[in-house]
């Protein structure tokens, strides 16, 4: 019992489940295109008067003003409700076929390319949250990888039905020549890991993550795609790699998910493992000055407070580029690999001196 796969996403258990999730995807598209812009507009319009009345006004003050704006109230309610419906729907449908899914993970685990550390201790910051409100987070649900993949398909309103997005990200990494070893830090379900391997078939490509269920899914998925990569359960701040042994590192939307002190430890680790001349590409949320009164800032904080992104404010408010400059000789803070927009993401590229 199962519906056909949707692109590379495992199909829902039933047609009704698939349709329920299809509705949420449509609803999210409506929220993002019709409701959220009105919240942002309201925030932008209130910013000036707020600052005029109180030169010391904070973003929290502006955020509270939006509590009385009907358009913002609805945008927030709808965003949160659909996010919760999304996870509820995905978890429910995969529970119906959990025997099949768990059997696939178990079979894949007997095949090479996966290292799960039986003694791994999850950092406190992981245990303290459900990132994006995913119940059980990435580590407490055996099916978290499956759930995340279908959830992200909905989250990106169909943009993650296949690996196109991740293939583009992999193409964007300014890696030259013939790298021998590439590391994808915080790889999650390994979509960029396999994309990097496809771009560099002769390189050894590693996907590192803390969450075992995500890695198990990543591994099974890579085996199904017949793309030979390595997945390993490790903390990005303390990897197995020898100093100066890695040609290139990718960290895609990793840093806003970790506390500031951990972020610095990860940057230090990247600087350690890269070979001289090696590069790291960091794709993440763009910085927003803490003093900025704007609708986009309000939306970013809503996402942090109501959508399971507790460390995102600290990240976007920080001077992350300066942190990188403290560890790398060459930092390009706003790398533009394509003429087209990079969307809501900022790309930073650092190179280690030769």
């Amino acid at each position: 019992m199962s519906r056909p796969d949707i692109g590379t996403v495992r199909g829902a258990a039933t047609l009704d489940d698939e349709s329920y999730l299809d509705f949420i995807e449509g609803m999210r598209g409506f929220n993002l295109s019709r409701l959220v812009p009105r919240l942002i507009k309201a925030g932008d319009e209130l910013a000036g008067p707020t600052r005029e009345r109180d030169p010391d006004a904070t973003i929290e003050d502006l955020y509270r003003k939006l509590d009385d704006v009907p358009a913002a109230q609805f945008a927030k309610r709808m965003m949160r409700s659909t996010q919760l419906m999304m996870w509820r729907g995905v978890q429910l449908t995969y529970r119906r076929i959990s025997d099949d899914l768990e059997a696939r993970l178990a079979t894949a685990e007997t095949e090479p390319g996966l290292h799960i550390d039986p003694d791994f201790v999850y950092p406190d910051y992981i245990a303290a949250q459900d990132i994006h409100l995913q119940p059980g987070n990435y580590q407490d649900d055996a099916l978290a990888g499956y759930v995340f993949h279908y959830g992200s398909k909905i989250f990106f309103t169909g943009g993650n039905d296949d690996d196109r997005l991740h293939n583009v990200m992999a193409e964007w990494c300014p890696i030259e020549g013939a790298p021998e070893r590439i590391v994808d830090l915080g790889c999650g379900i390994g979509q960029t890991t396999t994309a990097l391997k496809q771009r560099f078939p002769n390189a050894e490509v590693y996907g590192i993550d803390v969450a075992a269920p995500m890695l198990r899914y990543a591994h099974a998925r890579a085996r199904d795609l017949d793309i030979p990569v390595h997945f390993s359960q490790e903390d990005a701040a303390r990897t197995q790699f020898a100093s100066g042994s890695v040609d290139a590192v990718l960290a895609m939307i990793l840093f806003h998910e970790v506390p500031a002190d951990h972020a610095e430890a990860v940057v230090r680790e990247i600087a350690r493992i890269l070979k001289p001349g090696g590069s790291v590409t960091i794709i993440d949320f763009p910085g927003i000055p803490e003093s900025e009164l704007s609708g986009r800032h309000c939306m970013r904080l809503f996402d942090a407070w109501y959508n399971g992104e507790p460390f995102a404010p600290g990240f976007v408010h920080s001077d992350f580029t300066s942190l990188l400059r403290a560890h790398f000789e060459q930092v390009e803070p706003d790398y533009r690999p394509a003429r087209t927009s990079t969307g809501a993401l900022q790309i930073r590229v650092c190179r280690k001196a030769q």
Binding site: S19, R80, M85, Y125
Partner: protein, 115 residues
């Protein structure tokens, strides 16, 4: 938000220095719950419309049912019982959020009975 949601959010409130203090988005927990109901109804409506559309297409492709066959269909006892069970689950799914609002009175003293 429901009390459980507030409790859940509280776990990371310190880390984010957030304003996620559990106040309803629409100023009243009842309105928030109604939006959830509306969303669930809309979802189920789409589920039904999508299935119907696919069903009609499949039947037409196969040429198995003449026009009016579904309209004139009379379910037997087993099917009626199954539909009743499905109806209960359907209602419970849609009205779930009504069962999750606080059982504690808010704004005590404002009800007419208290005056």
């Amino acid at each position: 938000m429901t009390p459980d949601e507030v409790k859940d959010i509280q776990r990371w409130l310190d880390a984010s220095k957030g304003l996620a203090d559990g106040r309803p988005f629409l100023g009243d927990v009842r309105l928030d719950a109604l939006i959830d109901v509306l969303l669930e109804i809309s979802a189920q409506l789409w589920v039904l419309k999508r299935r119907n559309g696919l069903l009609e297409a499949a039947l037409a492709d196969a040429g198995v049912l003449p026009p009016g066959a579904v309209e004139d269909y009379r379910p037997d006892a087993d099917l009626k019982a199954a539909l009743q069970e499905q109806r209960a689950a359907f209602v419970a799914a849609i009205f779930r959020s009504f069962t999750e609002v606080s059982t504690e009175p808010d704004n005590p003293g404002t009800n007419k009975e208290d005056a």
